[in-house]
Symmetry: C7
Subunit: 96 residues, 7 copies
């Protein structure tokens, strides 16, 4: 499968279908202007650097289930999967 | 119940129904363009860091009743509860 | 009565009716796009911090009569009183 | 007469009628989108502070006749006089 | 004649009529969305200060013929002359 | 063939046709508001400098297959090829 | 001919007609929302200064053929020639 390395503080995530929601049973509303959705982190970006040249760490890690805003980021379809590249700052939270 | 860990300076709050308003009897107007609402803080974000690398403290704490602007943040429904993820800077005040 | 502690550089003020205007007889125009109004400061926010970690002082104090822009801030009704939470930087001046 | 102490870098000015224009005979156009007007400085704000904590000086002083943009600032009527609270940075120039 | 002292980095300029264009024969297009015009610098502002407190020098000087954008700045009519107060950064170039 | 040297942090890329997509079989959706596309990096810009005067390195290199947003950058046609000049920060990721 | 000295980081360029395009045969599309065009650099601005007071160097030089965005900058007609004053940062690349 093709590999996508996101640039900078971006992450690559895979949208989760309704039947893939977490065991806790999160149901995401389908009507709000800004609909959140669950997704799984596939890969992290090349990262950014702070003012002292140190690489800024990502808070999320590969495999995390995250809540994202429906209209953030850019959709990419890879090998039939709906993927999304978005900035880590557009991830609302981690579901566990 | 599923757990949601907000990222960065975000907090997770639970909207309070009218019959859950504080003993002091705050009635929130339903007509203004930007309607404030009462909510209870459920969990705090992973936090941010200031320029010296020190974690920025949250002013609110879990269990606080807070006033929020109706249109701020992103709604999430978890186990039948209306939750909201919003930046702490969008919390107007703490009700006691 | 319920107590509201504004967050950060916000202040809580109580709008003053026309018959509560200052002795000096300030009459506020009712037609301008941005109508100023008189209000009394009820409580100060938790404050912010400058770059050296020192708390930023408020210029206004509880009890001050202030001029505010009509459309700034967020209205809150507490125990029948029209209150308003707004940033101190949106206060135009102090009336004495 | 009621006293208004502007906050921060704001100043309080009194609009000058056409028959109060400066001896030099400045006539201000009445058609432009952004109409300048003459006004007299009534009082200076509480001032701001620079990064070293030193108070930033005002360039205008009480009594100065100044040119202001018609739509800047906020109108206040005090004891029958048309006053205006605006940021010093919105004053275009001093007339002498 | 009334004197106008522009504030900060602003300059006061006098629009030049078509028959006052420079000897080189610059003809300014009358159709573009943002029409440049020739003007002569009448007076310089009180200036600004850089981070070390040193006054920032003006690049233009009194008497310079300059190209300005038609819609920048604010028109002022003084003793029958069309004057304009604008920021030096809105001057496109000096004609010689 | 004419050579184009992008300025600053810009890069010059060549859009890839559908039959030029990577072996992994990435199919890009044609309906989204912001359609990503695959492109190949042709040349890097002259670069920028950080606060210490050091040249900022590019993360992508000539020959990289990258994902770009359809509406970012500026199209240029050179010798019959569809090229695009865009900021490196508008490149979403590298495909391998 | 009249001389125009651009201010700051601006440059003065002369638009090139289609029959003046570079030998490499760059054909610029005429339909895109933001149409790039070829131009030749006529003169450089007075320059800006960085935080240490050192003059910032221009990357382009007089005589360079450059690609510019059609809607950037301000048109000026001098002695029958279509000239344009624009910021160097709006130049996309150098053609050689």
């Amino acid at each position: 499968m093709a590999n996508i390395q996101p640039l900078g503080q971006r992450v690559l995530v895979k949208r989760l279908d309704a039947d893939e929601v977490s065991a806790g049973g999160i149901v995401l509303p389908d009507t709000a202007k800004e609909k959140p959705q669950e997704a799984e982190v596939i890969s992290l970006g090349t990262g950014g650097k702070d003012e002292d040249g140190k690489t800024i760490e990502f808070t999320v890690k590969v495999g995390d289930k995250v809540l994202i805003s429906k209209y953030g980021g850019t959709d990419v379809k890879v090998d039939g999967q709906d993927l999304l590249i978005l900035s880590e700052s557009d991830i609302l939270g981690i579901v566990s």
